[in-house]
């Protein structure tokens, strides 16, 4: 599998080396279950199904959520690509991070992400998930989402228009078909790295008692 960058927002390998920072762990093909060499036909069919049946979790984490109704309804109609809403994380495939994440929401988003079942995908909306956007100096929002959750596709813009949202979904579909999307395993393998980052900003990890089902 090539090391081609699947998203625009993440800097390339050379850039990372140049900047001397450790960015999100990159999963190699060996770490993936959907290795195309082994179960070629089955995986092809499954990937086809995965690609055309994306259940999006109904969680508007930020202001980008205002374009989701527009994307889902009659003019743009995302359902023709098999994209539909799912009410709970157990049923969902795609987690949309619609914009900035405050630390309080990030805690819930992590929880939600961990409740979702593999393969699961993350689409990040808007410039604020890429580099903080206009909230670059805000004390309560995170600046680079892929430090805390593995992101499959970034959609740039503030806020992205429904057309670009659909473009993002199509990009995700391409990645799924090629077996390059779905970073659930990657997240589990590098859980320490992600946890360290998460715990740096979320000081209070407790959930209410009734939350633990």
């Amino acid at each position: 599998m090539s090391n081609k960058i699947n998203t625009i927002g993440i800097p390339s390998e050379e850039e990372i080396k140049k900047a001397q920072i450790d960015f999100s762990p990159r999963c190699t093909a060996a770490g993936r279950v959907n290795d195309k060499e082994t179960q070629k036909m089955v995986e092809y069919i499954l990937n086809f199904a995965r690609k055309h049946s994306l259940f999006v979790l109904a969680y508007g984490t930020g202001c980008g959520a205002i374009e989701i109704p527009a994307t889902m309804t009659s003019r743009y109609d995302a359902e023709r690509f098999g994209i539909r809403g799912a009410a709970t994380p157990r049923q969902a495939d795609v987690l949309l991070i619609t914009g900035y994440l405050s630390t309080k929401t990030l805690k819930r988003v992590i929880r939600v992400y961990e409740q979702m079942q593999d393969p699961k995908y993350v689409i990040a909306f808007g410039s604020c998930t890429i580099n903080g956007g206009m909230y670059f100096d805000s004390y309560n929002t995170i600046k680079a989402l892929d430090r805390y959750l593995p992101v499959d596709v970034y959609i740039a813009g503030c806020m992205p228009r429904p057309e670009s949202v659909i473009k993002g979904f199509i990009k995700l579909q391409e990645l799924i078909q090629n077996g390059n999307a779905g970073n659930g395993e990657c997240y589990r393998d590098n859980l320490d790295w992600y946890r360290t980052n998460q715990q740096k900003i979320i000081k209070n990890w407790d959930f209410p008692d009734e939350y633990n089902w």
Binding site: A70, R108, Y139, M159
Partner: protein, 368 residues
């Protein structure tokens, strides 16, 4: 009925029925809500802190993101407050354009409300229609301001640009189309016996308490109290335009829905009048170089009528090129927390989302 065991139900932050990223902690006995508690902070971006670091014009990029479904009234409140502080005059044409933009914002937000209200009640068809048709309004915005949602259009001293060529005709056509469609919507929603059953007698705000509780906007007019900032303290060109403010008695979800149904027609009427009587002349009383632009020290309180009620800005200047303090009074500030906690107990859990939508609870403007 015997006392059942109470269950704690977390409505949100991830929940299809919530009107934004917030959480309502419900104590439920059977199907009845015993107590409700609003939890906020999921959308806190520290806007007011950030505005203290931006200059007067840069603040606009942040302002419109206060409340996503209707950014324009917030921009307008801020612009009015700055104009009050500085004493800057606004050309008459700008006033009319502002009126049109504010009313278009109102219509698009009402169309979104149609979707929310009917969707939370289980009628998804109407939401698909109205949110789809909302795109026509957003198209008008796009032609006028260059963006669908966030416009940053109404600046201190007027508006950012003049009406583009052909825009007026397009606006007329869109209004005609919408008026036709509204009949369909109303047939589907308001003539529906099940919706009437669901909405009547639910989420009642008592008339004698409404003002004291801080209820504003359509929920207030739904209790029969006639209060509208557009009439009480006219801004923009509302004092030159003839329109009515509908009120209904009852204070329940049904009355609020009726108020909104009538208001959207009034908005169309206002836009038509404003387009008819559009004066010529300048649209912008130019401000000096924004980086050096200072506003005299003082404080100002300006409010406008948004879809969900009055939106006010308390603005303090210390004479520098940055606001000292800009504090938004969101329309939903009282609705979403204290009013909700008062009216939810005793209701059915099926109606929680219904009531949330009819109050127009919008979390980002509560926590900013």
């Amino acid at each position: 009925m015997t006392r059942e065991k109470e269950t704690t139900l977390y409505l949100g932050p991830q929940h299809p029925g919530i009107t934004g990223n917030m959480m309502i902690k419900l104590k439920v006995s059977g199907d009845t809500v015993v107590s409700a508690e609003t939890h906020l902070g999921y959308l806190h971006r520290a806007f007011e802190k950030l505005i203290e670091r931006r200059n007067w014009l840069q603040s606009f990029t942040i302002l419109c993101r206060f409340c996503v479904p209707e950014p324009d009234p917030i921009e307008l409140s801020y612009a009015l407050a700055v104009e009050k502080l500085e004493g800057r005059a606004v050309p008459e044409r700008a006033d009319y354009i502002r009126t049109i933009v504010a009313e278009l914002a109102r219509i698009q937000s009402f169309l979104l409300w149609y979707g929310g209200q009917s969707g939370s009640g289980g009628l998804y068809t109407l939401g698909q229609w109205s949110v789809g048709d909302r795109n026509y309004i957003l198209d008008l915005f796009e032609d006028l301001t260059g963006a669908r949602i966030y416009h940053m259009f109404m600046w201190p001293g007027g508006v950012r640009r003049d009406l583009p060529e052909g825009w007026v005709d397009k606006a007329y056509r869109t209004m005609d189309y919408l008026e036709k469609r509204l009949d369909d919507y109303n047939k589907l929603l308001f003539d529906n016996a099940i919706f009437q059953k669901r909405a009547q007698g639910v989420g009642i705000i008592p008339k004698d308490k409404a003002l004291e509780w801080g209820v504003v906007g359509p929920p207030l007019r739904g209790t029969g109290i006639k209060h509208d900032v557009r009439i009480d303290e006219p801004y923009a060109a509302y004092d030159k335009i003839d329109f009515e403010v509908p009120t209904y008695e009852g204070g329940d979800v049904w009355a609020r829905a009726l108020v909104r149904r009538d208001e959207i027609k009034q908005s169309i009427n206002i836009i038509r009048q404003a387009l008819d009587n559009m004066p010529g002349g300048s649209y912008y009383n130019r401000i000096p170089n924004p980086m050096k632009w200072t506003v005299p020290a003082g404080n100002a309180w300006a409010k406008t009528e948004s879809v969900r009620g009055e939106i006010g800005f308390y603005l303090v200047s210390d004479g520098s090129n940055k606001p000292r303090r800009a504090h938004l009074r969101g329309a939903a500030y009282a609705h979403g927390i204290s009013v909700l906690e008062k009216i939810l107990p005793g209701e059915n859990i099926a109606d929680v989302s219904f009531i949330l939508n009819s109050l127009g609870v919008c979390p980002p403007e509560m926590e900013r």
